[in-house]
C-alpha cells in the first residue's frame, strides 16, 4: 500500500501529469461554446434524414447529447494523453536515474511494477472521469437537460433514452470508457518497461492505436477479417450503454476481450521488467 501511495505522490507531483487535464478542459469548453453558437445548424445536420418524415420538437441539443457527441471522439485524443503519463511511468525512472535507487530497495520489482501500473490506471480513470465531468457539468449548464436522442449518422432510426435513465447509463458508459482506455495505458506501460526513454512509448502507443484503427477500417476483406481481433474494434463498447435495449452480452464480450488485453500486457511487462538488466 505504501508503494502505491508513493507512486501516486510521484506521479501527481509532476506538472506534466496535468497537461492532459488542462488539454481536456480547454478542448471541451471550446467545443461546447462552438456547439452553443452553432446549435441549430448542428442538430439540423444530425437529424436531417429524420426531418424528411418527422416534425421534431424539444431540446435535443442538451447537455447529455453534447456529452455523447464529445465522447465519440474519445478514442482519438485520449490515448495520447494517457500515453504521456503511462509511457513515462517506468522509462522515466531510467531517464532520471532514480531507477538505481528504486530497484535496490527490499520490495520486489513485481511489487514496484504493480504499484506503478495501478497508478497508471488510476490516472487513466481520473482523466476519463474528468472528461465526463467537463462534458456533463458545463454541458448541462449551457444546454440544459432533457432526453437523449441518438441518431447514428448514415443510418436510419434513433435511440431515445428518457432523461431519468441517463445518469445511470452515463455512469456505466464512463466506466466502460475507462475500461477500454486501460488497454491503451497497458500498451504504453509495457513499452515503458522495455525502453529507457519516454518518447518511444508515447509514440509507439499512438502508432499502435492509429494503425489498428486504420486496419480495422480498410475497405478490403482481408483487413475486415482482422477486425474482430483488434482491440480498437471494442474500444467504443461504451456506446452500447446508450442503446435500447442494452446489449449486455455484447458488452460483456467486449469487456472481457479488452480485459484480457490489459491483463496480458501487464503480465508481459512485469515478466520483462523482472528479468531486465538495469544498466543505466
Amino acid at each position: 500500500m505504501n508503494l502505491l501511495w508513493f507512486e501516486m505522490v510521484k506521479t501527481f507531483s509532476r506538472w506534466r501529469t496535468y497537461i492532459g487535464f488542462g488539454f481536456i478542459a480547454l478542448v471541451v469548453i471550446l467545443t461546447e461554446v462552438v456547439m452553443k453558437l452553432s446549435a441549430g445548424e448542428i442538430v439540423y445536420r444530425m437529424m436531417k434524414s429524420l426531418q424528411k418524415d418527422f416534425l421534431i420538437f424539444g431540446n435535443i441539443l442538451n447537455g447529455w447529447f453534447v456529452t455523447t457527441f464529445i465522447m465519440n471522439s474519445l478514442h482519438i485524443h485520449i490515448p495520447f494523453l494517457i500515453a504521456l503519463v503511462a509511457g513515462d511511468m517506468v522509462s522515466g525512472e531510467a531517464t532520471s536515474g532514480t531507477v538505481r535507487l528504486l530497484l535496490i530497495r527490499p520490495p520486489s520489482r513485481y511489487n514496484i511494477i504493480a504499484a506503478k501500473y495501478v497508478t497508471a490506471l488510476f490516472y487513466t480513470a481520473g482523466l476519463v472521469i474528468f472528461l465526463g465531468l467537463m462534458c456533463i457539468l458545463p454541458g448541462l449548464a449551457l444546454f440544459g437537460s432533457g432526453d437523449l436522442i441518438l441518431h447514428h449518422y448514415g443510418k436510419f432510426g434513433l435511440v431515445f433514452i428518457p432523461e431519468v435513465e441517463i445518469p445511470l447509463r452515463m455512469l456505466f458508459a464512463f466506466m466502460a470508457a475507462v475500461w477500454s482506455m486501460t488497454v491503451v495505458a497497458s500498451i504504453a506501460f509495457l513499452l515503458s518497461t522495455l525502453v529507457e526513454n519516454s518518447i518511444g512509448p508515447i509514440i509507439g502507443t499512438m502508432v499502435v492505436v492509429i494503425v489498428f484503427l486504420v486496419i480495422g477500417n480498410f475497405p478490403f476483406d482481408f483487413f475486415h477479417s482482422l477486425k474482430p481481433y483488434l482491440f480498437t474494434t471494442y474500444m467504443v463498447f461504451w456506446q452500447r450503454f446508450l442503446d435500447d435495449p442494452i446489449p449486455w452480452q455484447e458488452i460483456a464480450r467486449s469487456a472481457a476481450f479488452l480485459g484480457l488485453h490489459s491483463i496480458g500486457l501487464f503480465f508481459i511487462a512485469s515478466v520483462a521488467y523482472g528479468r531486465k538488466d538495469i544498466k543505466s
Binding site: 441549430g40 442538430v43 439540423y44 437529424m47 434524414s49 429524420l50 426531418q51 424528411k52 418524415d53 418527422f54 416534425l55 421534431i56 420538437f57 424539444g58 431540446n59 435535443i60 432533457g146 432526453d147 436522442i149 449518422y153 448514415g154 443510418k155 436510419f156 432510426g157 434513433l158 435511440v159 431515445f160 428518457p162 432523461e163 477500417n217 480498410f218 475497405p219 475486415h224 442503446d243 435500447d244
Partner: protein, 234 residues
Amino acid sequence: MRKLLLLVLIPFLLLPGRIQAQGDATSYLDSLERKYSGLKDYTVDVLVHFDIEGFKAPDMQAKLYWKVPDKMKIESKRVFFLPKEGGFFNPSLFKKEDFEIKLLEHLTYENRKAVKLKLTPKKTKRMTQDVVLTIDTDRNLIKEMNISSFEGREVKALIQYAKFNDFELPTRIELHLDIPFNESRGIRDFDQSAQKTKRVTGKVEITYSNYRVNSGLRDETFKQTESPLSREGY
C-alpha cells in the same frame, strides 16, 4: 369518313361527362370544406407510439394546438416526434385550388359508401407526388390517405373519428410507412456506390384525446409554431 367523324366527335361527346366527373370529385372536397368551415381551432392531447424498425423510442406525449388555416404548435416537456404526413388533422389541407383532382372509383368502405380521389399537387415545390383519399361520402370523412412522394416514400394513414362539439375529429390515426433510406456504408465499400438505398417499414399510432374545440386560441399562442428543425412543413 364516318369513322373519322366518330373519332373526332367521341371526345366532344365524352367531354361533358369528364367535366361532370371533375365536378363530382371537387364536390367531395367542397363537402369536406363545408363540414369543417366552423372549426376555427382546437387543442388536443397527442400520444404517439412508434413501431418502426430501428426506431427505438418510447411513447411520446404532447399537447397540440391548431388554428385555421394552418397554424400549429406543439407543447411538450420532452422531445417529441410527429410524423409530417398525416400527423395531425388540418381540414384546410386539401383545398381544391391546390390540386388536380381525379375521381378514381366509387367503393364501399367499412360498409359505407365511399369514393377514392387522386390529388396531384399543382405546386411542384412540394415533394408529394400524389395523394389518394378514401372519403366516406355518407359522413364526409377522410377515412384513408395514401401519400406518395417523388423520392419513393409511401405513407398510408387510417383515420378513426369521434364527435367533439359537433365536429368529427380524429381519435386515432394509424400510419403505415414504407420509406427509402440512403444508408452510408462507410469507407469499407469505397469501390461501390457510397450509399445503399434501404427501405424502412413500420407503423406509427397517434392517439388524440381531450379535445377542446373553438376555445378562441390567439395568434400569439403560435408565435413559435414550428421547431427550428422542421424546415419543411406540410
